[in-house]
Amino acid sequence: MKRIVIHMFLKPEPTVKDLKGLVESAGLTLDQLLEMYYEMSLIREFEEAIGAKYYEGKNPFNMASGPIRGEMHLSSGQEAVAVGVGSNLRKEDVVVSTHRPHHHAIAKGTDVRKLAAEIFGKSTGLCGGKGGHMHLFDKEVRFSCSGIVGASFPQAAGAAFAFKYRGEDNVAVAFAGEGAANHGTFYETLNAASLWELPLILVVEDNMYADSTPKSIALATPHHFQRAMSLNIPSYLVDGMDVIDVYLATRKAVQRARSGGGPSLIEAVTYRFRGHFEGDGQEYRERDEVEMWRLMDPITRLGNRLTKLGVEKERLEERRKKAKEKVDEALKFAEESPYPEPSTALTGVFR
């Protein structure tokens, strides 16, 4: 019954025959799918491990205490969007993310040890402890993010402008939530990107809520994609709980951008399993709704498909285990790393 409700706005699960056809026509190999399964597992294990650590030293709950301080926005449930997009990107491509950035960073190839260390505020972190969870910067894989909602769109457009200007075939991707897409920067960026045919891909991750605000009271229409279409930008509405669906749309968008065709928009329908931030009482949604979406867990879903395609359960478990080991090791590294010297706070405003 619950499944049926979700199928009203996501695609029905394919039969084995249709699944084989889909994978074949997409030109995807089992190894590629297994790699996506691993990446998604890595993200999930990372988020759940950070989530658990975050509550250490926070009883009673207080944001200022414990080994990880401040706000914490985790992405469990949204892995397929990050990995479906990230699997199409190269190191030289740019990703600009949001206040909920871990899945995007991992899918872009950021070292999870440095990522974890930054979240713990350690000197070995991506930014030497200066940025923290909402301000992750990794020049090596051209990843950045911001805690200010709506900030990602124009910044990615700027990177796309530079690629086009220099004649490089790199692309820039902006991730943002359905809440962020209400911001003026979304529409302004769409217009500029279409006008200048920028190699830009805007990914709207529609997880139904912006903080405590359901999209039913913040959007005049159920979706955002038609706004991009009104500016002559090809737009894809995809099942964000299905990594293959996200992957295929992104592949088209990336091909178009790399070949000088201009921007695309991908709107991925997804869900966050945890609160907006850790400590969120979630008064604004029903438990049942969360349970319903958990039935569509993108990792389980891909796992089931791989099993149907003949991959042994052990191989999946082995991937999952490897992901967990990598996360455990990253958190150990983070915890054992030293804090930065206090005096470093006073340097680095200017180069």
Binding site: N62, M63, G147, I148, V149, H183, A345
Partner: protein, 332 residues
Amino acid sequence: MKMKGISQAIAQGIAQEMERRNDIVVLGEDVTYWGAVFGFTMGLFDKFGRKRVVDTPITEQTFMGMAVGMASVGLHPVVSLMFVDFLGAGFDQMYNHMAKNHYMSGGQFPMPVTVITAVGGGYGDAEQHSQVLYGLFAHVPGFKVVVPSNAYDAKGLTIRALRDPNPVVIFGHKLLTGLPFLPYEGEEDEVPEEPYELEFGRAIVKTEGSDLTVASVGVMVHRAMRVAEKLRKEGISVEVVDLRTLVPLDEETLSRSVKKTGRLLIVDEDYMSYGMTGEVAFRIQSRAFRELKAPIQRLTVPDVPIPFSEPLEREVIPSEAKIEAKIREMVR
């Protein structure tokens, strides 16, 4: 009644004014279920419903502009800017319109808007969620700037703002909200049940002393008071003045204090340069130059963003230890 923190007091002040008047509408992000995150609108949704308590899409420029339009035709919007750090996303409507329309229109359009925003760091929220920035607003002609340090003041100043025909921005420090998920640096205050107003431009002497005056606002008032308490036992007598509003600024009360003590330390959580400390120092030296026994000093966030990592954050935000060291240096 006893109240812990400014959030409940601000929300109570708004509720009481909303009951009396129909022209008040509350808008901003997450002002219903979450009480604007920091509790400044908590309970209003249950009392007044979505008609008067409106969750907006994430559109700071638009809802600030709408507040300007609402005020121009007779409403008194109460706008939540969730964290002051987000002002950039809506600032044009604020500083070029909200702050100027009354003046530009030759006085035709009053601009009764109350903006309430959360400020401050010290709990690990990093560069984009830890600033106070009231200096920016105080710099632009057209905003009244209110920084309450306790529940009693918060309620009285909020009601005053709601009866003011001008743009007033209330800066509530997160560590004074009294919410369970954040540290609390204030005390419990006795807050009258009935509505009351406190005048703007009235500083208050919180702790009397004779050797040195500390002037501050918000959470730093509490830190200074705790330091004053500690130093009193050693025979160093510190007077703490809570400015309460930066615009208008009560020069009279502060200069009276400085004339008595001869020394002034200004403590601020804002960035150092071109901000509150420089302004207050200038005004006081021009009023109390002859009585000053030492140069006016300041303690602020040095001109760097607020970093994430705990030891770095501690390095930049004025602490009790830093206030104490500075005072010792000045009275030596």
